[in-house]
């Protein structure tokens, strides 16, 4: 999973950590030249000539390195080509001279760099995320012995992406270990002479197009006693922020996680609209429900394909080595379909219908609730509404769960899965209103049940998808026989694993209905005379 980081720290300003590299985003190259002049006049420096250089930033598809606070960059053009492993805030952790493009950890020469990388990314491949090309000039700041104490570099980059080219000018001030004081002097000089302030690590990431998908910024800030319509608007606004924040990434498809977060926020919005009746006018709710359903359905096939593509390495691993290449046609097929789906998404997100949906929804959410309302639940205290809706669903799940045994048909299991999903969304929707720890445990208990129900369903979907792919490939004559045979074996494996999941379900239902869980749920959600604090 991708680690969640909070709001980007305010760009620039703030006290700088003296031990790490300071980065300055400059308005134009001329400012950098001026900075070089200022430093040259005040310090003893050895300056190198400007060189043509390039930097490629790498990470795994699921951003393991970013989640661990690391950047992996292949630097070429100045000196020997080097793979640099830096912390996000700009400290060199490791380096390895290598001219080849990085891929799997095991492609690197044996040694500490490879071991450390393998510990982080396991068997995953690192992929190029951003490529910078341009020129760089470096200067070593020397002390009286002629020793380098600080490295200064001025970089003019072209960043390609989305058919356009961005130009960036970056100034980096990197202290050699043990010479933080010298670097601080330089930072002070740049501030006083040129008014320059370093940027935050997050801003640096964003500038290079390395920003990670966002789950949420901060909570919607609910309080007990708040009117239900106002509270709901806050939650919806918060979800809309997430939708908008992941829009660009979804469009560019730099990482499947953008679309995933985008869709989760839509799904939650829809769940709220469907479950929380009586707080907004029916016609409004119906309209937005319809529009968000449309958005969900436009993006759904792409998500399925993403999941499929993400699972391909696991499929491959399950097969004997000699059959690995037989899956290549399947990958090509999936990728061709994904390209087509992506075009649909880009078109939908650029459409007037989409823009109107987002604008109207925002406008509705920002309108303050009417003081007087005839809607039954609009002015009801939100914790009351939340408890009532959650408790009702919780009881229904216990009842439905109790009716399931090892022979119950799959439809009943699917109904239970859908109910669990709704309950999960509701609990997360109103999470802030309840004591944090008890709520976390309650969600955890539900999640355990959901995991097995989800697996049961995923394998079914997987079999269907493989079946469809096989049929479609056969129709277009694009699949050699061994590929079809291998896919048949995958379907078999998937069926077996689905059966295994099915066998676990009853035990998990029983665990969810265990007395301690029931007691906690009752304490949290059942309506009672006592007033709970938020």
């Amino acid at each position: 999973m991708i680690a969640h980081r909070g709001e980007p720290a305010h760009d620039g300003g703030g006290e700088a950590d003296p031990d790490v590299e300071q980065r300055y985003a400059l308005a134009e190259p001329k400012v950098g030249e001026r900075a070089f002049e200022v430093l040259h006049a005040a310090l003893r420096m050895r300056v190198t000539a400007s060189a043509r250089v390039s930097r490629t930033y790498y990470d795994t598809f699921d951003r393991r390195l970013a989640a661990a606070g690391s950047l992996l960059v292949h630097a070429r053009g100045d000196g020997e080509p080097v793979l640099r492993w830096e912390s996000i805030d700009g400290r060199l952790e490791r380096r390895l001279p290598t001219s080849g493009k990085p891929g799997l950890a095991t492609d690197l020469p044996a040694g500490p760099f490879r071991d450390a990388l393998e510990a982080r990314i396991d068997v995953r491949r690192v992929l190029p995320l951003t490529e910078l090309k341009g020129t760089a000039r470096t200067a070593n700041v020397l002390d009286t012995r002629g020793k380098t104490t600080v490295r200064v570099s001025l970089e003019n980059w072209r960043l390609a992406g989305n058919g356009t080219q961005k130009k960036l000018t970056l100034l980096r001030i990197a202290p050699v270990k043990g010479y933080a004081r010298e670097a601080m002097k330089i930072a002070a000089l740049l501030r006083e002479e040129l008014g320059l302030t370093p940027m935050s690590a997050d801003a640096h990431q964003a500038m290079l197009g390395l920003a990670t998908p966002r789950k949420s910024s901060s909570g919607p800030r609910l309080r007990a006693g708040m009117r239900s319509d106002e509270a709901a608007k806050r939650v919806y606004s918060h979800l809309l922020d997430v939708i908008v924040a992941n829009e660009e990434g979804t469009r560019a498809r730099t990482d499947p996680e953008f679309l995933h977060q985008y869709r989760v926020a839509i799904r939650r919005t829809r769940a709220g609209l469907a479950r929380l009746k009586g707080i907004f006018p029916v016609r409004t709710v119906e309209r937005f429900k319809r529009e968000f359903r449309w958005l969900g359905s436009v993006t759904s096939p792409m998500r399925d394909l993403d999941v499929h593509l993400l699972e391909l390495p696991a499929y491959t691993e399950a097969l004997p080595a000699e059959a690995h290449q037989d899956l290549e046609p399947l990958r090509e097929h999936l990728e061709a379909e994904a390209d087509a789906e992506q075009k649909r998404i880009v078109k939908a997100l650029g459409s007037a219908r989409y823009r109107k949906l987002i604008a109207d929804w925002r406008e509705f959410l920002e309108r303050p609730p009417a003081l007087r309302t005839s809607l039954p639940d609009a002015a009801r205290p939100v914790e009351e509404l939340a408890r009532a809706r959650i408790w009702k669903l919780h009881k229904r799940i216990l009842k439905r769960g109790a009716a399931i045994d090892d022979d119950t048909p799959a439809e009943a299991v699917h109904d239970l899965r859908l109910d669990c999903k709704k309950l999960r969304y509701l609990m997360e929707f109103f999470r802030e209103l309840f004591p944090a720890e008890a709520m976390q445990q309650q969600i955890k208990a539900l999640k355990r049940l959901q995991d097995v129900l989800g697996r049961f369903n995923d394998f079914e979907v997987q079999q269907g998808a493989l079946q469809d792919a096989a049929e479609s490939m056969a129709e277009h004559d694009s699949a050699p026989l061994p590929t079809i045979v291998v896919m048949g074996r995958l379907i078999e494996t998937s069926r077996r694993r689905q059966d295994e999941a099915r066998a676990e379900i009853c035990g998990r239902i029983a665990a969810f209905g265990a007395p301690e869980n029931r007691a906690r749920a009752k304490q949290l959600f059942a309506a009672g005379p006592e007033v709970r604090n938020a």
Partner: protein, 247 residues
């Protein structure tokens, strides 16, 4: 983290040049490397243009008063750091002798560096005393530069005899021929004689060369100013052999 002590009882055998070039090569190949300059003369510190001074002196490091990390300086080469020499290290035997449980203390100190470094090279002072004894016990390998002369061979015999008493805890001793002068018959003879040394030497030999001497004027490791020279290649080969031996 591997600890490699570069040591000889005899001075002037190319010990510091060996430490500096081996460590430089290790760092260049991606190992996070630290040189601890334990020689009060501070030759390693001199080569890297670092002031041979540790705040509070060697005593402060040994007495748990300061973290070694604070005293460490980055060299001009990324991935290679230096814990500078301090003149007070000339009393190292006295200091170690007065420290309670010195082996444990040194181990602890080195352990605090474990997260930061893959390999630590100790540039030891040429003496045999309490301090070197403690170092022998914590090092994974003892690299011994040996000039192919009768006197050096005798010194190596003494080191071997000394380590014999340590039984299980002794580091692997890795001697190699240093400052080999092909013009000298004695050098040629000893190098050719398989049984000349009491311990089998590593195969790499560092030639006697003015390039190595120029380290003092360039104040840099050999590969920095003479990458393709014979000594640069010999040091690289030596580094690979040591790495293979300590795993």
């Amino acid at each position: 983290m591997k600890i490699i002590a570069c040591y000889n009882l005899k001075g002037g055998v190319g010990k510091t040049a060996t430490t500096v070039n081996l460590a430089y090569e290790a760092a260049r190949q991606g190992a996070r490397t630290l040189i601890w300059d334990m020689d009060p003369q501070g030759a390693a510190s001199f080569y890297f243009r670092v002031k041979p001074k540790v705040k509070g002196g060697f005593v402060r490091l040994m007495r748990r008063k300061a973290s070694a990390l604070d005293a460490i300086r980055g060299t001009d080469y990324e991935g290679l750091d230096l814990l500078p020499a301090d003149f007070s290290a000339r009393h190292i035997d006295l200091i170690v002798d007065r420290t309670k449980k010195p082996k444990r203390r040194l181990r602890k100190m080195l352990r605090s560096l474990r997260k930061e470094y893959d390999v630590v090279y100790l540039d030891c002072a040429p003496s045999i005393g309490v301090a070197s004894e403690v170092l022998f016990r914590i090092a994974d390998a003892l690299v011994v530069p040996t000039i192919p002369t009768t006197l050096s061979v005798n010194t190596l015999k003494r080191i071997k005899k000394h380590l014999k008493g340590m039984n299980g805890t002794a580091p692997s001793v890795l001697p190699f021929f240093s400052m080999v002068d092909r013009r000298k018959a004695l050098h040629r003879r000893i190098c050719a004689d398989k049984d000349a040394l009491p311990i089998d030497p590593l195969r790499a030999r560092i030639p006697y060369s003015s390039v190595v001497e120029k380290m003092g004027t360039h104040r840099a490791p050999v590969p920095v100013f003479a990458a393709d020279s014979k000594p640069a290649r010999a040091y690289a080969k030596l580094g690979r052999e040591i790495a293979a031996r300590i795993g």
